[in-house]
């Protein structure tokens, strides 16, 4: 497994791979890898000749009061997991290399789907995400990039960005991976106390309760949300619980098959997100 710190090196390597007609699958991450990330690498490995992973805790997607400094950095364990998953190259740039301009100048921004869900509560977050992914795509020019459905809004925005800006990267949505107890895997789960982790299980339970009611014929969004909230409150301090069009995150009058149910909330001081497709 090759490890690149330098932009020009990884650029040269991937362009060489592509020049001989081989395909590059790419998994951008912030490290602290769990089985969710590993499943992305494994899928990319099946569908491409060469698989690369970037590990970069991106400062521009964190708000001033968010957890950029304490975000878990576990590079050695990450490398072992990637080696085992069959990853061919890892790109671990420094912040200064990615943001030569200080990171406050050029942004890729979106004005519709980015304002829903997490976008309401994390101003600037998706500008940071889109910008760093645009840079990484421009550096590695992958044929395909793999994103988990846990960060559903991120996935929608990146897929739309690649289309809208003609980046030519196929953005592949990948199944959300859960722990055995149903909690959606997230690097931020490591912040949870034992007690808060128990409370966090209500998130998946609430989503399942909504889906069950929908499958019994209930399509009233307000009523479905009430059912979810009754499971969540008071253990989860809910930031949002929304039922939206899964393609563009626009509002829907009634729930229908394929709609997205997305939730964000705090367990203790830890913000968690999860979702399910009806």
């Amino acid at each position: 497994m090759k490890v690149f710190k330098n932009i020009d090196q990884v650029k040269h390597f991937t362009s060489l791979i592509k020049s001989v007609g081989k395909t590059v699958g790419f998994v951008p991450t912030m490290g602290n890898l769990h089985q969710g990330h590993v499943s992305l690498v494994e899928r990319a490995k099946k569908e491409n000749n060469i698989v690369g992973v970037s590990i970069f805790v991106n400062p521009t997607q964190f708000g001033p009061s968010e957890d950029y400094n304490k975000y878990p950095r576990t590079i050695e364990a990450d490398m072992e997991k990637l080696e085992k998953a069959g990853c061919d190259f890892v790109f671990v740039p420094e912040v200064d290399a990615i943001y030569k301009d200080g990171g406050n100048s050029f942004f890729v921004t979106e004005k519709t789907a980015s304002t829903a869900l997490c976008g309401k509560f994390r101003p600037g977050h998706f500008d940071g995400v889109l910008t760093v992914v645009a840079k990484l795509f421009n550096i590695c020019h992958p044929n395909r990039a793999y994103f988990g459905m846990k960060d559903y809004q991120q996935l929608v925005l990146i897929r739309k960005m690649s289309e809208a800006l003609n980046m030519g990267v196929e953005v592949v949505p990948c199944t959300l991976v859960r722990d055995d107890d149903g909690l959606a895997m997230s690097s931020r789960n490591s912040y949870l106390s034992t007690e808060d982790r128990k409370k966090a299980l209500k998130i998946n339970k609430a989503l399942k309760a909504i889906k069950e009611s929908f499958e019994k014929g209930n399509n009233e969004t307000d009523n479905l949300k009430k059912i979810g909230l009754s499971v969540l409150v008071p253990d989860v301090s809910v930031q949002y619980l929304e039922i939206l069009d899964a393609n563009d995150l626009s509002s829907v009058e009634n729930a229908s098959q394929g709609c997205l149910v997305a939730v964000a909330g705090f367990c203790g001081s830890v913000r968690l997100i999860d979702n399910i497709i009806l």
Copy 2:
């Protein structure tokens, strides 16, 4: 000379060129080509194996009260000039092909140098410019792209964007081309009445007067601006006359060699820009 209307075709063509190790020089234009554009094509031809030009009147860079609808479209004359200049391919996409999303969703935006000069008076203009150029770069993946120094702020922003977003396109600044009478060439000159055209000559005269005074030892920006304004007023209705750092368009206390002197103003209803480097 090949003519492409379709994004996939031009993408395929340019990637083929590059896959055999040849270089692509690219000149994005809005058509209505004059000698300034032709000089870009000729320079690109000298420095690359293959030269392409895009002709696309980009709606997102025009304000609601600006001249998008009446912007001169002269496609047949343009084609003749390009053929003569040795252009290898022309890309003439439809608006719907470039803006599948309606053009109001994803933008590349900049928050510092884009707020100076024209950015103050044309809100959203540079978001539109940067976004369409990002798309065109992503479609054609040129080795080099050629921009005239007449649109100096545009040139600075696109050069910085290519670096900041790791686009890998070398942005080449090219000499401003003037008519024999000194008027900077611009597609918008065709809007000028005979009388207004005479008035417009004051713009270049004012820039020259500033440069002459600077070369005699005057480096006081306020005084230099006064000298320029005394030439411009009342024939040109001045929007701005600024002396700035030519690299990042930041303010300077005193003028020094290499500084940019930039002016925008109206002659009749026609908005013209021009600049000179000290």
